[in-house]
């Protein structure tokens, strides 16, 4: 997207007030009550896509993007990254910041605040960082994919511009690690609960 790099914030390349921004902004008032408690309940028995449901899902992926930004920031400061791994971390951080800004902007004042993190040793050495980065990016792909059928078509189109970038990150860091970059014919989706568990395992402390 031009979005966060440019002047006006456009979400995921959806240039009019459609997509994430339009869909979300329209219901921001009505959903001001929707907070963290309901966040991770998404996924099992969902109603048909609606703008209200989009908001709850956006809060979930907001947590995901917060985690990624914090993870890459800390790793770049503390893990002693060098070479291609450092290039990867810097590039991914730039992308995750843009995703975070887009989702925050779409949610407006209802966006949940930045949670706390404790990544432990994962952001303190190149080896552990690489391993955790693979897990985190795979979770991001599975998390977005898991919500695809629950989103309105407009928001899905915007989210689709993000998920393939997460998949590129996942493949990139896997390739750097000498792992198979695309191990499955179809990426297995995760439910919101599985995403939440995965993020907490990595270091989300909300």
């Amino acid at each position: 997207m031009a979005g966060v790099e440019g002047d006006g914030v456009k979400v995921g390349g959806v240039s009019s007030r459609s997509g994430l921004i339009g869909g979300a902004a329209a219901v921001v008032g009505a959903l001001a009550f929707s907070r963290v408690g309901r966040l991770f309940e998404i996924g099992e028995a969902l109603a048909a896509p609606s703008k209200g449901q989009d908001i709850r899902i956006l809060q979930l992926v907001l947590q995901l993007e917060y985690t990624q930004v914090a993870f890459y920031e800390q790793a770049l400061a503390q893990a002693g990254l060098s070479g291609e791994l450092r290039d990867f971390a810097q590039t991914a951080l730039g992308h995750e910041r843009a995703h975070l800004a887009a989702i925050k902007s779409a949610l407006g004042p209802t966006a949940n605040a930045k949670p706390g993190f404790d990544f432990g040793e994962k952001t303190k050495s190149a080896d552990r960082f690489r391993k955790a980065a693979i897990e985190l990016e795979d979770i991001a792909v599975a998390g977005y994919n898991g919500q695809a059928a629950n989103l309105t078509k407009q928001t899905l189109a915007a989210a689709a511009e993000i998920v393939s970038v997460e998949a590129r990150h996942a493949a990139w860091v896997r390739a750097i690690a000498g792992e198979i970059a695309a191990p499955e014919p179809i990426d297995t989706p995760m439910t919101a609960k599985q995403v939440a568990d995965g993020l907490h395992e990595i270091g989300l402390r909300a």
Partner: protein, 232 residues
Amino acid sequence: MEGEAGFYEFLAAVDRDGAIAETKAVAEASLSRRRLLALVTGGAGALLLSRVGEARAASLSKSDVSILNYALVLEYLQSSFYTEAERNGALSGETAKAARIVGAVERAHVKAFRKLLGLQAVKRPTFNFQGTTEQQEPFLKTAVAFEDLAVAAYKGQAPKLQSKPVLVAAVGIHSVEARHAAWMRELFGITPAVRAFDKPASRARIDEIVASTHFIVKAPKMKSREKPKSTG
């Protein structure tokens, strides 16, 4: 979750031919323990059995059939490309290894779409890859272009799908194509992820790009009566 059931159902369509096994065998070692565990304990088998056979061409809308056939042509293009490069022995090292896995996956996608579409599946076009499957350098350059194209194509079409199980399967394939794109870019020595947001491309734009390659020498026909084949 309904989407997941659809996903496993789709997976089942592929697996009955053992196509996934081909990929899985190579990939298993790299799956993290957590994901392997999720695969084993996720109830996949039960869901699989109960849902297999629900999404069939007969129950798909005209629009979905059209999108799936369009995706099938792109998968034919990719699978034939990788298969031909492999058969030509044009590749070596990491590139050969990656192409073997990616080729197997693209063949699995072809099988899955053919299974879903049944008699409504378009036939495989005749391709001429203009020498790009004979040497590693042009192979990689073309692979990068194909994979980036596939990502943009799936992204443009997936939100238009009406069937929920098919939509869930399509987004799962979309992200796999993005992984392939990044992988081929890495092997080619260019940045795997250039922008924060990947753009979709319209069908017309994709058609234009594919036509410009002159790789398709004989257009696909509708109403295939050919049985699904195991070759790429």
